[in-house]
């Protein structure tokens, strides 16, 4: 009786959810195959073509539509995301490792770290920019001030992921290693790290993706040279052509590729984790 009413409602809800989630992307995807260069960013599709993809890579004959100014911005964003990923993950692992032991002021430190993802991005960005310009007196760059803002933002995510992983980590393998005469540093490198690697991978993915499309903090903190989200935003103020959609599809495919790599690496780790679980069942 209950399911007769509830089921259709839930089905509709899920349908709407998926529509809103993927709808915009599907529309963009379709429009990216608009005829060029005269076709605009709206329906109907005059005829299907890959013109805008060719335009993106400069393979079309020159026309009145300027190429998308994203080349350098893309490199900048990838570099920044990579730098942020490495720094935030290293800090996250180290901080989470520290939290395995109770220490004085642990609660305060925990909230200070987590604050980085709670504070509104616009405030962090503005604050960073004011600090750089007026207090310290340095120029803002995507690789300095914006990088700092990104690390402050992504570090808590990496930290929380690692905290969850280490929370379930059985410390006796580390003790076993120490008792074999292996130093704590080597133990971390050869025992702990390989075992927490799935968590590290997740932390890296979080930090990379969050940094890659970060907008509000970067807007204020990055100075003259723009990152990709800023550059794309910049093109909107002029005139929109379907080349931006083609670019959107390309970056999405890139994200999927990233996720696939993550998925494969994770799958390998999970297989190993399953073996470990089996091992505990036997024990």
């Amino acid at each position: 009786m209950e399911s007769k009413v509830l089921k259709p409602i839930l089905a509709v809800y899920v349908g709407l959810f998926i529509l809103f989630l993927y709808g915009p992307f599907i529309v963009l995807g379709i429009l990216s195959f608009q005829q060029g260069p005269e076709g605009g960013p709206q329906f109907p599709i005059l005829s299907w073509s890959t013109y805008w993809y060719q335009h993106l890579f400069g393979l079309t004959p020159p026309s009145r539509i300027a190429p998308l100014p994203v080349g350098e911005a893309l490199v900048r964003s990838l570099t920044l995301a990579f730098m942020t990923m490495v720094t935030a993950t290293v800090l996250g692992v180290m901080a989470a490792q520290a939290f395995r032991k109770r220490f004085r002021g642990a609660g305060v430190v925990f909230y200070l770290i987590v604050l980085g993802m709670m504070v509104p991005g616009v405030l962090t960005g503005l604050g960073t920019s004011l600090l750089a310009n007026n207090v310290v007196g340095i120029e803002r760059h995507w690789w300095s001030t914006a990088f700092l803002a990104h690390v402050v933002y992504t570090f808590p995510f990496a930290f929380l992921v690692m905290l969850a992983i280490l929370n379930r980590f059985d410390g006796s393998v580390e003790e076993a290693s120490w008792s074999l005469g292996v130093s704590p540093i080597t133990t971390f490198r050869k025992v702990t790290f390989p075992l927490i690697f799935p968590g590290v991978l997740s932390a890296m993915l979080f930090a990379f993706t969050l940094s890659f499309d970060e907008f509000p903090r970067t807007l204020f903190a990055s100075g003259r040279d723009q990152t990709l989200p800023l550059a794309i935003y910049g093109t909107f103020s002029v005139e929109i052509h379907p080349n931006i959609f083609a670019f959107g599809v390309m970056t999405t495919l890139f994200s999927f590729a990233l996720l696939s790599v993550y998925g494969i690496l994770m799958g390998l780790s999970v297989r190993r984790a399953k073996k470990m679980a089996m091992q505990e069942d036997i024990a």
């Binding site: 059985d170 006796s172 393998v173 003790e175 076993a176 290693s177 120490w178 008792s179 074999l180 005469g181 292996v182 130093s183 704590p184 080597t186 050869k190 025992v191 390989p194 075992l195 190993r272 073996k275 470990m276 089996m278 091992q279 505990e280 036997i282 024990a283």
Partner: protein
């Protein structure tokens, strides 16, 4: 006398003020097999972890081979630990697990491999050397843990409930292997367990612990026959405890006035048993003789003196040539008694009456 391991006035107090180990004193000779036995939370594992260096010593001296190691890091100590969950490295195969301790010490590859082969062979693991540890049985994994610890040649091997996760049959066989291995290698083993059968079967001396303190340190047999405290008497073996007050002394025995009459036991600890002192007779199950009701009283007196308590036979079961009985006293207390079938055949039956009797020399008196 040089000891392998010495703990002198060792205390462990946790940061929140909870005392875990109180005034622990123990000298262990090289090659001894020592068991720490006690209920969970008695401080036995904490003591082991202090020896290994995983826990700090709050006060007192911890010496290994005459050297104070209180402040030495775990990896610098000549000890190696075996864990209840084995703590094998799940990302390494059997050989890599065993090789690990040698590898990081930069031992030449050939020598390291030779040592690993040797120990794998000794523990019967050669056939599975290249297998991942995940699919192996508990017994095999326990042996891998042993091989991994022994290959680095520790002076002292620490074992934290190493058989706890194994099933009963396997436990017995690994127990035997462990004992043989220890004799063979001649290194000191310190073994933590809450199972008295393990401690009694394996060790040269047993340290019985309760609530952070040592209750008694004795060879297994003595612990069994001469418990020195109420706790040990209750914890080890199956003893009947009969409280009373001292009435007299004769030939090293103490005579108590108890609820069951005038009863005696040997004063092994040499306690000053003055009249009126509150003491208990500890009567081990093996010391108990069951006397059928048809035995004439003079004969019983001649054998056991006044050490007789009337009882009712509740249950009676014959397994092979052993007769297992449960008898009850007038106060409702039940005890287990065993005896050879021939001795009791046709003279005892369930629901019948008999006497629990013993010779004073086979029971022990301790302070109440």
């Amino acid at each position: 006398m040089a000891y392998d391991l010495q703990l002198t006035n060792v205390y462990k107090t946790y940061d929140n003020g909870t005392p875990a180990v109180i005034d622990f004193n123990l000298d262990v000779e090289k090659g001894e097999f020592i068991a720490f036995l006690g209920p969970s939370g008695c401080g036995k594992s904490t003591t082991l972890r202090m020896i290994s260096g995983f826990e700090t010593v709050t006060s007192g001296d911890l010496m290994i081979r005459g050297k104070r190691v209180n402040d030495q890091l775990p990896e610098k100590r000549p000890t190696s630990m075996i864990f209840q969950n084995y703590a094998l490295f799940p990302h390494m195969n059997v050989r890599q697990n065993v090789l690990f301790g040698l590898e990081v010490k930069n031992m030449p590859r050939a020598e390291a491999n030779r040592k690993v082969d040797q120990i794998l062979d000794k523990l019967g693991l050669s056939g599975i050397a290249e297998m991942p540890t995940a699919r192996l049985s508990g017994g095999q994994r326990q042996r891998i843990a042993l091989a991994r610890s022994l290959v680095v040649e520790p002076d002292i091997l620490l074992l934290d409930e190493p058989l706890g996760a194994l099933d009963a049959n396997l436990r017995k066989s690994i127990q035997n292997e462990l004992k043989l291995l220890q004799r063979d290698l001649g290194i000191t083993f310190v073994f933590v367990t809450h199972a008295q059968s393990e401690a009694l079967a394996l060790s040269d001396r047993i340290v019985v612990m309760n609530a952070g303190r040592i209750e008694q340190v004795s060879p297994p047999r003595e612990l069994y026959t001469r418990p020195s405290s109420q706790f040990v008497a209750r914890f080890i073996g199956s003893n009947t405890i009969l409280p009373g007050t001292v009435k007299a002394r004769e030939d090293g025995n103490v005579i108590l006035e108890t609820a069951f009459g005038i009863l005696g036991g040997a004063n092994r600890a040499g306690i000053d048993a003055h009249d009126g002192r509150e003491m208990s007779i500890i009567l081990p199950a093996e010391a108990v003789d069951l006397v059928p009701a048809d035995v004439p009283e003079d004969e019983m007196r001649a054998n056991f003196g006044s050490n007789t308590i009337p009882c009712t036979i509740e249950r009676l079961q014959i397994v092979g040539h052993i007769m297992h009985m449960i008898v009850s006293f007038v106060d409702g207390r039940k005890i287990n008694v065993e005896g050879h079938v021939d001795k009791y055949r046709d003279r005892l039956k369930a629901g019948g009456r008999a006497f629990v009797a013993w010779k004073s020399a086979n029971a022990t008196v301790i302070d109440h």
